[in-house]
Amino acid sequence: MAVDQAKEAWLELFYPTLLRDVLALDSGDGTPSATVDDFRGRVPGGFRGLTIKLEYRLADRMEVVLDVSLRWCGPAPAYILGTPLDLATWQKRRYAMGYRPRLDDRIFAADLDEVSGHHVHLLSQRGGHIPARDVDPDTTDVDPREFVRLVAEYRRTKVVPLRPKASP
């Protein structure tokens, strides 16, 4: 599933520049795909939650996956399409962001799920859960655009940009 006009509009609404940032990882030589679904709390003209997933298969067989579920927590009962969108009024309920060789284990990833809360996976640490606060930089609630910046840094330096904090 490619990024059609509607998906591009959703991405631009919630995360302006995200698609461009992702494509810039390899000058747009790869293949992006996006899904936007799991709409919750629908009201006329609006909704209270959704899931946005953007995948980018780079030309060198690497892959970035950014999958975020957001819930509205603004003052009105729901977000109404066409009104200004402030990301601060949306709470991330779950996310999974990772960088990996296609179909392989993630080299590094930042996740939020029901079992482990905000955490990180590092291939160098056998992929186990590391609390996000125990990693530098702390990836708690990380913005997908910031995660893409980390991926770009890794591709440039070949050094994983997330490091477990040294024990005191």
């Binding site: 006009q5 509607a6 998906k7 509009a9 959703w10 609404l13 936007v36 679904d37 799991d38 709409f39 919750r40 629908r42 003209g45 909704f47 959704l50 899931t51 999958d67 579920s69 819930r71 399409l81 066409g82 309920r93 779950r94 999974a96 284990d105 993630r106 990833a109 996740d111 799920d113 029901e114 079992v115 482990s116 996976h121 992929g127 186990g128 859960h129």
Partner: protein, 115 residues
């Protein structure tokens, strides 16, 4: 804007769908990890022990599990709000012995919090 409205209509989530999707993935994981009883609880225990290999199927399970729990919470909140609205009336009623049995939603939430 019409394009986006159309996405909202076609991509709507339902609790029944969330539950069915979760159970489908849990059946696959149960087979992989040879789980036979209380699969969800076993999967959570394995995940906490870092014994689940974080591949696409496990990522999908995390997503669906979070999604389903959220449905349960929303349902629970809805019931609480509905009860709060009827509370003044309820206070006038004579309590029935054994009437405090939790609803299936409350029971499911309680089970989840035990995991």
């Amino acid at each position: 804007m019409e394009l986006l409205m159309s996405d909202i209509q076609s991509g709507a989530s339902t609790m029944e769908r969330a539950k069915a999707d979760l159970e489908r993935v849990e059946r696959q994981l149960a087979e992989r990890y040879s789980l036979v009883r209380n699969v969800r609880r076993e999967l959570v225990a394995l995940d906490r022990a870092n014994e689940l290999h974080e591949d696409d199927l496990v990522a999908e399970w995390h997503k669906l599990y979070s999604n389903y729990l959220e449905w349960l919470r929303e349902e629970s909140q809805f019931i609480e709000e509905a009860c709060a609205k009827t509370a003044p009336q309820a206070r006038r009623l004579k309590p029935t012995p054994g009437a405090s049995k939790p609803s299936s939603t409350e029971a499911a939430l309680a089970a989840s919090s035990l995991l």
